[in-house]
C-alpha cells in the first residue's frame, strides 16, 4: 500500500458498529483519521453523500472511496492490509466459512436482539431480551478452555465484532436492568471480554464510562433507580 494512504472513518463515539472498525484499524496499526458525526439529528452532508442507502456510521473512506456496513468494511480492511497482522479471517476456507458464519450470527442474533432490548418497550423488549440470552448462551460455548479468543490464539473477526457490544452492556447499565448478563451466567464470555479489553487497541476504542454517564444524564435517560 502507498505510504500516503488516506484512511478516514465517519464515526459516532457511541456506535458499537463503528467501534468494530476502529478496533480493526488499531489492531493492524493503520493510520486513520476520525470525523465525528453529530448523531442522530445532525448528519453531515458527507455522510449522506457517502452512505445514501443507510445514512449510517461507520463509513470508511479509503483514498476518497467510501465503504459502508461494518462487516463489509472489516473484510475490506483485512484484504487490503493483509500483510499486517492480525489476520481477521483465517486462511483455511472452511475456517473462514466458520468465522463468517459466527460473525453473521453475532450480528443477527445478538446485536439485533440487544438493540431491540435497549430501544423498545413491552413485548418487543421482552423478545429482544429472550433472543439476546439465547444468543449469548450459544456464544458462551464457542469460547473458553484453549480458545482464548473466538479466533483461536489470536483476536479475529468474531472477537472484533462482538466485543464493542460487551462494553455497551456496561454503557447501558445506566438505563436498563442488565442483571441477566452477568459473570455468573456467562463466565467464558466475561473472561474473554476482559482479555480483549486488556489489549491496547480495544481499550483505546471503548468509550469512557464517565463520558457515557454524562451523555445519558444530559438526555434524561438514566434509570429512575440510579
Amino acid at each position: 500500500m502507498a505510504k500516503n494512504d488516506e484512511v478516514i472513518m465517519l464515526d459516532f463515539w457511541l456506535s458499537p458498529y463503528a467501534r468494530r472498525v476502529q478496533i480493526a484499524l488499531e489492531e493492524k496499526g493503520i493510520k486513520y483519521e476520525i470525523k465525528e458525526e453529530d448523531l442522530p439529528n445532525n448528519k453531515s452532508t458527507l455522510l449522506l453523500q457517502l452512505n445514501p442507502v443507510y445514512k449510517k456510521v461507520p463509513v470508511l473512506i479509503h483514498n476518497g472511496k467510501p465503504i459502508c456496513e461494518s462487516l463489509v468494511v472489516l473484510e475490506y480492511i483485512d484484504e487490503v492490509w493483509n500483510h499486517k497482522s492480525p489476520s481477521l479471517l483465517p486462511s483455511d476456507p472452511y475456517h473462514r466459512a466458520q468465522a463468517r458464519f459466527w460473525a453473521d450470527y453475532v450480528d443477527k442474533k445478538i446485536y439485533d436482539n440487544a438493540m431491540k432490548f435497549f430501544k423498545t418497550e413491552g413485548e418487543e423488549k421482552e423478545d429482544g431480551k429472550k433472543g439476546l440470552i439465547e444468543g449469548l448462551k450459544v456464544m458462551e460455548e464457542q469460547v473458553g478452555g484453549d480458545r482464548t479468543y473466538f479466533g483461536g490464539d489470536n483476536i479475529g473477526l468474531v472477537d472484533v465484532i462482538l466485543v464493542p457490544l460487551f462494553s455497551w452492556f456496561y454503557v447501558y447499565k445506566f438505563t436498563n436492568n442488565l442483571n441477566f448478563v452477568s459473570q455468573e451466567s456467562f463466565p467464558n464470555l466475561f473472561a474473554w471480554a476482559k482479555k480483549c479489553t486488556e489489549r491496547d487497541s480495544v481499550s483505546k476504542c471503548i468509550p469512557k464510562e464517565q463520558k457515557v454517564f454524562e451523555h445519558f444524564q444530559q438526555r434524561n435517560l438514566l434509570n429512575s433507580d440510579q
Partner: protein
C-alpha cells in the same frame, strides 16, 4: 472430486439454495443434491445446521457449511481453479459486491417476501414501493458498476459473479410477486439495465438448468398460501 464428497441439502423453490447451485455449476463441481423433506425436518438437516435448521447446507468432506452467501464464498475459495472467480479481484469491487448482496438479503428480499402476508392495502402498497425503490437502487448500481469496464453484461463483468448470484437468485420470486400483485416491478421502462441483465442471467449456462420455472414457483406459492390461510 468424487460426487459423494460434495452434497447440497436443499429444496428446489428456495432462492438461497439456487445461489449455492449456481456457484457449484460455475466451478463445474460434481455434487449430490439432496431434496430436504421438511415436516419433519430431516436428521441430516438438524445435525448439519443445528443453529438455524435451514437450507441450503453444503456438506464437503463431511463438514457442513451454512448460509447461502457464505457457501458461495466457500465454493469460490475451494474450487478456485474450477471456473472463473466469483468474487471480483479488486478489494474495493469486492466490498461493493458484498454491500449490495447484503442489501438484497437485509432489505429487498424481506420486503418482497412480506407482500403476500401484508395486512391491508396500505401496508401492501408500502412494501411494493419499498421493493420498487430497492430495484431502482440496484439499477443504479448496475449502471455504475458496468460503466467502469468494457464488459457490460453482468455485475461481475463478462461472467456472472457474486452479486449476480445474490440478486439473480431472486428473479423467479420477483416474477411471482409481479404476477400476484399485478405490478410490473422489472421492465424496460423502469429498470432497463436490470431487465436485460435478467434475461442474460437466466440464459447463462450455470443458471438455466437450475433456475426454477416461474409457473412452478407460482403453483408452489399458491399451495403455501392455502396451507397458511386460516380455516
Amino acid at each position: 472430486m468424487a460426487k459423494s464428497e460434495v452434497k447440497l441439502l436443499g429444496a428446489w423453490p428456495s432462492p438461497f439454495v439456487l445461489r449455492a447451485r449456481i456457484a457449484l455449476n460455475i466451478k463445474s463441481v460434481d455434487y449430490e443434491f439432496l431434496e430436504e423433506t421438511f415436516q419433519p425436518k430431516s436428521q441430516l438437516l438438524l445435525q448439519s445446521n443445528p443453529v438455524y435448521k435451514k437450507i441450503p447446507v453444503l456438506i464437503h468432506e463431511n463438514k457442513p457449511i451454512c448460509e447461502s452467501l457464505i457457501i458461495v464464498q466457500y465454493v469460490d475459495d475451494v474450487w478456485s481453479s474450477g471456473g472463473p472467480s466469483i468474487l471480483p479481484a479488486d478489494p474495493y469491487d469486492r466490498a461493493i459486491a458484498r454491500f449490495w448482496a447484503t442489501y438484497v438479503d437485509d432489505k429487498l428480499f424481506p420486503a418482497m417476501k412480506s407482500i403476500a402476508g401484508a395486512k391491508g392495502e396500505e401496508e401492501r402498497k408500502r412494501l411494493i414501493k419499498e421493493v420498487e425503490e430497492g430495484l431502482a437502487l440496484l439499477e443504479d448500481a448496475f449502471n455504475k458498476i458496468t460503466s467502469k469496464g468494457n464488459n457490460k453484461l453482468f455485475f461481475g463483468g463478462d461472467q456472472i459473479g457474486y452479486l449476480d448470484i445474490a440478486f439473480g437468485s431472486l428473479l423467479g420470486w420477483l416474477r411471482v410477486t409481479e404476477i400476484t400483485t399485478g405490478v410490473k416491478l422489472f421492465d424496460q421502462v423502469n429498470t432497463p439495465g436490470l431487465a436485460n441483465w435478467a434475461e442474460r442471467f437466466c440464459a447463462h449456462a450455470a443458471v438455466k438448468d437450475v433456475m426454477p420455472h416461474t409457473h412452478k414457483l407460482l403453483e408452489f406459492a399458491k399451495t403455501l398460501m392455502t396451507k397458511l390461510a386460516p380455516i
